[in-house]
Symmetry: C2
Subunit: 428 residues, 2 copies
């Protein structure tokens, strides 16, 4: 056995031994409804922070209190609950690793600085500034950043993620009457903001996901032959996509098209309308002010500012064509940059070894369709390499009602994080 | 003085004397949040019924309790509150009239049967059946029906209403993925139900309110010369419309076009979308199931069933053109028929005299754009003439947040209802 193997063997055994405690730890964490996108739950984000503080404190002692807060692992080996895979599972994985080291009396191979943030679903406002402020203080001498905020591409094979799409989120605001009106009295005699909005929104994207705003697709980096050849070895097929989506409504039927459109082409989604009737049943309202929401996932080499200009000008133009007397504005309300890294640096190499050690298979090198804007901030502000090391599977349903984390992914994921520390430490 | 004048003079004086009590009665009624379209407030609909029962009981005694429930008349002569003009003001008007008669020891000139219903905003489900069931029982020998559920056309001149549009309410249901998805992971690779929905909804009506569904406009009764000539004497202009709408977003600038499009042409309004993101801020969701809501205001001689067929076939056809794999359904969820009466029968003649007596001006004979489907049910089931006798003004903002009733309309309206009873009684 190599020296790292000598270390990892008892460490992995300890992790297996502690499995019930680790499951309870995540159960407790998920039971805190710290969903930042729901403003009424914001105090729970603080509660979650308190929980982490307490757990970390406890890792210096043996008196870990087990609490039953009602979220129990079901018998089929899944931990179900909002936040289980994104992002409490991986966060607990780091705590679990500390505990395993502690109980074995094993020294950590590297110094660790943690940064836990609870407002990612609400745009992580303030985090960029904090990282910049703390770059030479709290984050002083950090050489490498590992972000736990992604998942395997599918359900069968682990991956390492070296790229993310960005996201520019827009809203179209249309104001007409001074207040909501009754469609019996005003229907047919005034210009209705909803009619204008639906008209403009229908011109942004076609049914096959093609963005119809001129100039947007032209900013996308061309596909090189080398890149095109990378897709064929990746473990993925349309069935994986359909399984994760819960439907057979894929636009593309072959792996390469699916992955390219998820990773390296932009997409435009219409998310909804604020101010219109959104309840069940029949309400005969003419909404006076409606706000259409849509976002564009961005990729290299799109320029965020130029994109805003193209989008806003296009919406203005389409509205102008309608000759409606209503008031019209389009605005960017949030943007996060895309990110692409070198998948062959020390961090990715150590992560690859760790993943192989735990899962017995070489991970696929993938990109992701989602956005983690803070990735770029860490890279720029700390001058550090960033690694995304996933724990959960592609069908975990992050952010959705039935979000889950499979217990094997939680436990083996804890081992992967632990092994990564040792492999990365060995490069120093 | 005629004998009716001899009666009305002390009756009107009594109504003026009771004004503070009448205002308090409506204040108390409006303070009960009996908004049936909000399901959580349904118990308050029962509370409102209890209130009416109690008030009516009290009208046989002198011990009227005054309650302060926090909704007070502001100093500018308006009673502001949801339900003030639609429909608690007119309902209290009837109670006020009973009280004035009672306090004067004046016998009512006709027998009155009341029917109070609290679910009109939710389609008055069950009321049709009830009226049919009670036609020969509770409603036995009712010769004339007076409905208190409309307003003046504008703000300056009282009206009598002899026609109403109907309303067919539809929803388009589009189902895609098994659950809401993250637009980062699935944006660009699956067919999004919102894209389909916005596309189909954009094809129903143009920006000038023209219905784009073939065959619909062809069912509308042609405008006769006689009808065309009726509009010029009606007190109304585009400024009244703009004032009521709180904007300068009228489609038509002249009285005749506005009134015809409000009263005798159909209109199509897009009300909203259920299932999509409808909150403030940015949420990057791909909604899995979206339900688009729209309704068509119907007029003579549209056939409701044929309209359903045209609408549903058109939506199906437009969706089919998209070649989307998502599941698509369009359905009627509520319909109410239009209604037109003879504005020169006994009821309208008595109402005209009553209005002239109180307001000193001949009322305009108008139709309304809204729907009161129960009008037709009363007419058919009881074989009775139906009169719509309005109390409030056209800018009262029925169903909206700042709904109001001007105090003069409330008090003079109470007199109008009272006088109507006497003029109508004199025809018997």
């Amino acid at each position: 056995m190599s020296s790292i193997d000598t270390t990892l063997s008892p460490l992995f055994a300890k992790i297996d031994e502690l499995k019930p405690q680790f499951i309870q730890r995540l159960t407790d964490a998920v039971a805190i409804p710290s969903v930042s996108s729901d403003e009424t739950l914001r105090p729970k984000v603080f509660a979650m922070a308190d929980f982490l503080k307490e757990e970390l404190t406890k890792l210096g002692a043996d008196d870990i209190t087990i609490k039953d807060l009602g979220v129990q692992p079901p018998p089929d080996g899944k931990l179900i609950g909002r936040g289980s895979t994104d992002d409490k599972g991986p966060v607990m994985g780091w705590l679990n690793s500390l505990q395993a080291h502690k109980e074995l009396g094993l020294e950590l191979p590297v110094n660790i600085v943690f940064c836990f943030e609870g407002m990612e679903e609400s745009g992580s406002i303030g985090l960029d500034t904090l990282i910049a402020q703390e770059a030479k203080k709290y984050f002083k001498e950090v050489e490498s950043v590992c972000i736990s905020d992604n998942y395997w591409l599918g359900t069968k094979k682990p991956v390492l993620t070296y790229g993310l799409r960005g996201c520019n989120y827009y809203q179209i605001i249309i104001k007409g009457p001074g207040a909501d009106l009754h469609s019996g009295i005003f229907g047919g005699v005034i210009h209705e903001p909803m009619t204008d909005l639906v008209n403009v929104m229908s011109k942004l994207v076609d049914i096959n996901g093609n963005i119809l705003i001129p100039g947007v697709n032209e900013m996308v980096a061309p596909v090189t032959e080398k890149e095109a050849s990378l897709y064929k070895d990746i473990e993925f097929d349309v069935d994986e996509l359909n399984l994760a989506a819960g439907s057979n409504t894929a636009i593309y039927q072959n792996k390469k098209d699916i992955l390219m459109h998820r990773w390296r082409f932009p997409s435009l989604s219409l998310h909804g309308i604020e101010g219109a009737f959104s309840g069940a049943g029949a309400k005969t309202v003419i909404p006076s002010k409606v706000v259409g929401k849509f976002s564009i996932r961005t990729v290299p080499d799109m320029d965020s500012k130029k994109l805003d200009e193209l989008v806003i000008n296009f919406c203005n133009e389409k509205f102008k064509e309608l000759k409606s007397p209503n008031q019209f504005t389009t605005e960017l309300i949030h943007d996060g940059a895309y990110w692409v890294s070198d998948p062959f640096n020390n961090e990715f190499t150590a992560a690859k070894l760790a993943t192989e050690k735990v899962w017995g298979i070489e991970p696929d090198l993938t990109r992701e369709g989602g956005s983690i804007p803070i990735t770029l901030t860490f890279e720029k502000e700390l001058g550090a390499n960033v690694l995304l090391l996933p724990m959960g599977k592609g069908d975990d349903g992050a952010h959705s009602i039935n979000e889950k984390l499979n217990i094997p992914n939680y436990i083996e994921g804890t081992k992967t994080l632990s092994a990564y520390l040792h492999y990365y430490g060995a490069t120093k």
